[in-house]
Symmetry: C2
Subunit: 424 residues, 2 copies
């Protein structure tokens, strides 16, 4: 029998959750607010569910200092579903904007509008992807599947200058972004933290800033609420909940309201089909989800509640209104672990370049990646209750995921083991 207190879990997602939240969860599953029914049973349209939704949005807004001109959506898509949703929705906004511009010029002649629009789509529709790891690669592949590869501009393939492997982010001067002069790309997409490869953007890219900056869409699944973010720089931030925020089951989308009606119209399904562009499922249609306060269809309220509790805990712990406290602790834990790895270069090798080391997913090899020695390293860790350290099956090696629910104590226990193993 292993107790929770015996274990420190470094899994990459699903990730550990705060024990206090799980203890409360185990009660509300059976009986929520003394109503005689549990939280998985109450209606998603009940006052209780609405309160949970509102509280969770409030906590997230507080933590990330989300401005009023942004909306927060909850979807059942998973992060991977958002790879598609961002494409469907932002292409739709782009098409409708172009259509309106053309209609403004040529008037009511539908055939002429369509003819010109076809040409504009053919020549100008570009989705820019910064591919810095396995997840942004997957997202760019899904975009190509949906709209066709000719419309997807891989503005950066970080493997190219690094022996075919992820692990560096080349300087922005080497990126091949769609020029802004013709209106630029429909959007620029990046993954803020690459879970598999341990690569994190150290800061928001300078070349995505400025007055005519493109719409920026970022996947923050694996570093959500782990550092301050200037939300205004993004059109869309999304993340699956199961790493830093809560349970598998919901994804969270923070979206600029100007991309939703009434400020911004989306192209009709008919028009999209006419233009050989894809029509997404209604459950991924952001205007529909926003209009219905994420309750277009049944939302897993239990998962929203868990996320809300995790966030409320962060707000309480740091006694502040923003995420600074959590950022400090995340940085400190990462500093300790990388410090121990760097101390023994003959034993450990951190995979990504120092300039882009992820604070969340610390990827390293033991004795140059020797399979038997890495196996022994993992077995030794397990004996000490340090679990979930195996690297992603596609790259191997060791990965210590350092999400919000990993305690400073947990990080220190890992550091002690790293020291012990290296000096044994």
């Amino acid at each position: 029998m292993v107790n929770r207190s015996d274990v420190h879990y470094f899994g990459a997602g699903p990730a550990p959750l705060p024990t206090a939240v799980l203890e409360k969860a185990s009660q509300v599953l059976l009986n929520y607010k003394d109503k005689g029914i549990g939280l998985c049973e109450i209606s998603h349209r009940s006052p209780e569910a609405n309160e949970i939704l509102a509280d969770t949005k409030q906590a997230l807004s507080t933590l990330l200092d989300i401005p009023d001109d942004y909306d927060i959506l909850f979807l059942q898509s998973g992060g991977s579903g958002e790879f598609s949703a961002t494409v469907y929705n932002l292409v739709s906004v782009w098409v409708e904007k172009k259509r309106a511009e053309i209609a403004n010029e040529v008037g009511d002649n539908k055939d002429e509008v369509l003819k010109r629009l076809r040409k504009v789509v053919d020549e100008e529709l570009k989705l820019d992807y910064l591919v810095t790891g396995s997840w942004s690669k997957k997202a760019s592949e899904e975009a190509a599947r949906l709209v066709g590869s000719k419309h997807v501009n891989v503005a950066l393939d970080a493997r190219k200058a690094n022996d075919g492997k992820f692990g560096k982010i080349p300087p922005e001067s080497e990126w091949n972004l769609t020029p802004r002069k013709n209106g630029g790309p429909a959007f620029v997409y990046f993954c803020d933290n690459e879970t598999v490869d341990g690569v994190e953007f150290p800061a928001f890219p300078k070349s995505l800033e400025g007055e005519d900056a493109p719409l920026v869409c970022a996947d923050m699944s694996s570093n959500f609420i782990s550092r301050k973010v200037d939300v205004r720089k993004y059109a869309i931030i999304f993340g699956g909940a199961q790493k830093n925020i809560g349970n598998t089951g919901i994804a969270i989308v923070i979206i600029r309201k100007s991309l939703l009606p009434p400020q911004s119209q989306h192209a009709s399904p008919e028009l999209l089909r006419e233009l050989n562009l894809p029509v997404g499922p209604i459950v991924l249609d952001y205007p529909t989800i926003a209009k219905n306060n994420s309750l277009y269809n049944t939302l897993p309220i239990f998962d929203v509640w868990v996320a809300g509790q995790v966030m409320a805990g962060l707000v309480n712990t740091y006694g502040i209104k923003r995420i600074g406290g959590q950022e400090e602790i995340s940085n400190e834990k990462a500093r300790l672990i990388y410090g121990a790895l760097d101390k023994y270069p003959d034993v450990y090798r951190v995979v990504p370049d120092k300039s882009v080391r992820s604070r969340m997913n610390i990827c390293f090899r033991v004795h140059g990646g020797d399979a038997d020695k890495e196996k022994a390293f993992l077995a030794g860790a397990e004996k000490k209750g340090l679990l979930g350290l195996k690297g992603h099956r596609s790259v191997g090696g060791i990965r210590a995921s350092n999400y919000n629910a990993v305690s400073l104590e947990g990080a220190k226990r890992l550091v002690a083991y790293l020291e012990e193993y290296a000096t044994a």
Copy 2:
């Protein structure tokens, strides 16, 4: 303080769950199989998760007697996401079949194949929908949104012969199914039980049987595992889990393997776009989900586990290999409740026609739908711990949902209240 034992919950979904399952869930949330981490935290690629998946599939196969030539998929789509997924996937299969036939005739000439295929799509692509209530209506609307209304044949609109309201299913001779002679429709869709309107198909439609029967796709969200089903008659059966099976968070798809590779190819995204047909997100692509044993992306294993526990409970309770026992108890509970309603025709009026009364969602009006009296009826019920009886907001009235986790005791308590209210 209201305890679970004080309450009988008749909510339409999310629905009640067996207390024994929730009690076990509240333990495994904190620590699963003494591993020191909880069930929402373990990896979806761990041996434990694989075992849960296998056990849940096994229990479902046992209960519904699912043949070996069917696959079981779990998706995060919700039932509403399946409205779209069924269209994307079955249209894709239809298109590829037609393409292959044409290519067989005209050979390698791609332009000629495309030209002919365009014509075939234009003239022959028909999706047949039997609209018998709010959910099949929504599904048909989503199909029209995705492929264009000209390709959607509403073969039955049950409101037409019933004063514009759902509540009857006209005889099959009056349905307007796409004739089988030109290959028939791409599929025929129906909702086996309409949750909002209380209308359930009494049996599988005769006109969808026979040697050249079309592919049949059925939404069983609200009557899953509540009666025997001849799975072989269906191409696809799907259901959101949150009514008869488990938590909101997963949908279950039972699909004939002949619709998946290698037996059946799906059209390429390029071809679908060329034909002005929609390309769905990869998380709704059945071949991808099937190939990855539902683990293409992170699956909410906790929700799969809950469904598996509910199913295992049904298997154990009835001590039999099939669903007969649960069907008997469902029928008995419905018989008791409808019996009490029919006994007092001056007080209660069952909404749907007797021939299509749902055993799962028992919709009725009190005193002809008098708002004050229905309010008083609900308040009286609540005092007795009979909760969740309010009808769907779109139709009003009273709805007693009689899902698998509603006990015979609960049904009897409701019957007692119906008697008491009617004779007071």
